[in-house]
């Protein structure tokens, strides 16, 4: 009865195009927003912000970016980590060259740098597909991380080769740097992720989203309905790398506080890819679910055994984490390519007809 849709009729196409044709979905989203914007900030402590909430949001954003490319447009990329790096370094340079620029503006601008680099490395996708494209993006990954190391201008010639986030204020409040409060940073990241999610939903449900999906599902047929494959693929690379880039900037500026080139290496690319696979290819919600799982799992694994009185070493926790994630990846790739998001969809269907199946 909870999710009963009877009595909810749509009389116009406008209503049918609403984001939530079913009223309960809108209510549920409202609850989630209240939890994210009010309940969590009131209850979470420093640790929860730093170890769970902020990273979940940032990884969600990175996964959303990759999902647009891989889940919607069907182009596999193994270079997400490096594209995040481009966003982070671009933001660092903008902030150090123009210290008076608003951090939000700097982050929004840094996305254009990663988008441009993404499009450049997306050009091979016009000729090659699948596995070969994945290898080409892997080449981008190696090249960019090498560049982050060798191009000293990027890190302002610092002796350590790392970038340090300076103290940055916005409207008199410290938002980044060593003195920033966790709750401030949480709100900053939450605002960015909420807005970008909204925009991504809008893009993916309209004409451009359909074009991407048609390229993913059958590129030859897409071409013959008049879709320009070059434009379709490169626009996916552009939007995807833009989002990944701002995720990278947030990653360093609002969470890590500092970064070395190897932070953006392959493990980061794979972590984001795993979030997409576990959460669900071609789903916006999936990015959130996948990020929660990947971020929370090691935290849970390191506290749960202790709470149960079973002693485990930290290296054991790491091994356990790798094993569980590996098993999940294999499970989802084989059993449910649409990931956790599909589980929710199935549950929702059941609730709609509950308590009268059929």
């Amino acid at each position: 009865m909870l999710y009963r849709t009877a009595g909810q009729f749509k009389t116009t196409y406008e209503a049918d195009h609403a984001l939530f044709p079913v009223r309960q979905d809108a209510i549920l989203l409202g609850i989630i927003l209240v939890v994210a914007w009010v309940v969590l900030p009131l209850t979470a402590n420093e640790f929860a912000f730093k170890a769970l909430l902020v990273p979940v949001l940032i990884y969600t954003l990175a996964a959303l970016g990759l999902n647009i490319l891989t889940g919607y447009a069907g182009q596999l990329s193994l270079g997400t980590g490096a594209f995040m790096g481009v966003g982070a370094y671009a933001c660092y340079k903008i902030i150090t060259i123009f210290p008076e620029v608003n951090l939000l503006v700097a982050i929004a601008m840094s996305g254009f740098f990663s988008a441009a680099v993404g499009v450049a490395f997306g050009v091979p996708s016009l000729r090659i597909k699948g596995f070969y494209l994945a290898i080409a993006t892997l080449a981008a990954q190696f090249f960019l991380v090498w560049l982050f190391e060798k191009w000293a201008w990027l890190y302002n010639y610092s002796a350590s080769g790392a970038i340090q986030v300076p103290t940055i204020e916005m409207f008199g409040v410290v938002v980044a740097g060593p003195n920033a409060k966790a709750i401030t940073q949480y709100y900053f990241v939450l605002a960015v992720v909420t807005v970008v999610t909204m925009l991504a939903i809008n893009i993916t449900r309209g004409r451009i989203g359909r074009i991407w999906k048609s390229v993913r599902d059958m590129d030859i047929a897409a071409e013959l309905v008049g879709i320009n494959l070059m434009k379709a693929k490169l626009s996916a690379f552009f939007v995807s790398s833009y989002i990944v880039g701002i995720a990278g900037a947030l990653f360093v500026f609002l969470w890590r506080g500092a970064a070395e080139p190897n932070l953006f290496d392959i493990p980061l690319s794979f972590r984001v890819l795993f979030i997409v696979i576990i959460g669900g290819l071609g789903s916006i919600l999936g990015n959130y679910l996948g990020a929660m799982l990947i971020v929370a799992l090691p935290v849970v694994l390191s506290y749960l055994p202790g709470a149960l009185g079973i002693p485990v070493s930290s290296s054991m926790v790491e091994h356990l984490n790798t094993m569980v994630v590996g098993a999940l990846i294999i499970f989802f790739l084989i059993v449910e390519p649409h990931g956790l998001a599909r589980f929710w969809a199935v549950l929702r269907e059941k609730l709609i007809i509950w308590p009268f199946p059929h």
Partner: protein
């Protein structure tokens, strides 16, 4: 409320060519894949407003012919004159802009998308709102979406597929998939529609439905149709003129009656295939 759908007010693009005049003219076209000659020195025309059948045994070069017509293959020899202009160097995605749409012998739908979305992709080219408007959704992008949705709903009504509007096409039976594919082609509002075996693998009832749709499209929308079909009964019923291919060559061309009694055709095609 949305106004009720009326099948008779389908839009027909005016292209300055009167019914019965030559819309597409193929002259001495040859196409080879490496050593395989798919089409050898074929000439024929398609006139505006007609249903033109292309028949022939398996491997005769029919599908290759359609691929030449919509620019997917560029023939090594010969001329293609469309609407009085010779075609030079066309990319496949440009065919739609010229008013040519097609369906495929093996269904080529977008499997992960719903019936509605599949047909909506047929209108991608006509939709103009860019990334900026799409991001905002409300406003011009939504207005455009609704405008095209109405056209698509007319097609959905016409093809009697309302009940599968939201179903992912990968889950539909084959016959319905073929129907959705026709819907997607119609959404492009083509002046020339190429159908590659639209009734293959269908039972009698489904074939009758499909035949009715093809005739209605031709009559109500004035769409010129090139039809590849193996079922001779269907071909004889639907088509105005028939061109017969065998081993990449044209062996007959004319009205169904003329072609049916042609000796080469009987030997090569009717004789061989049952």
């Amino acid at each position: 409320m949305n106004s009720p759908v009326n099948h008779n007010n389908f839009t027909v693009t005016q292209d300055g060519i009167a019914d019965g005049e030559v819309l597409l003219d193929l002259r001495n076209v040859s196409l080879a894949f490496g050593g395989v000659k798919a089409i050898t020195d074929i000439s024929f025309d398609i006139r505006k407003g007609e249903i033109r059948a292309i028949i022939g045994p398996n491997g005769a070069g029919k599908t290759s012919m359609l691929n030449v017509i919509n620019g997917f293959y560029t023939p090594q020899q010969g001329k293609i004159i469309f609407r009085g202009k010779e075609r030079v160097g066309m990319k496949p995605h440009q065919a739609v802009g010229q008013g040519i749409a097609r369906t495929f012998q093996n269904v080529a739908l977008f499997k992960g998308m719903s019936t509605l979305d599949n047909i909506m992709t047929g209108r991608s080219v006509m939709m103009k709102r860019g990334l900026g408007w799409q991001m905002l959704w409300h406003g011009p992008a939504l207005a455009e979406e609704i405008e095209h949705r109405k056209k698509v709903e007319e097609i959905i009504d016409f093809l009697e597929i309302e009940h599968i509007r939201r179903t992912p096409v990968g889950k539909l039976p084959y016959g319905l998939q073929k129907r959705v594919e026709l819907g997607r082609a119609l959404a492009m509002e083509p002046s020339l529609l190429l159908l590659d075996e639209p009734m293959a693998g269908m039972n009698l009832e489904e074939k009758e439905d499909m035949s009715r749709f093809i005739l209605d499209v031709n009559r109500q929308r004035g769409t010129t149709i090139a039809l590849i079909e193996h079922d001779m009964g269907v071909v004889m019923d639907l088509s105005d003129r028939v061109v017969v291919l065998d081993y990449g060559r044209k062996i007959a061309d004319g009205t169904p009656e003329v072609v049916k009694s042609n000796k080469d055709v009987i030997d090569a095609y009717l004789g061989v295939a049952h």
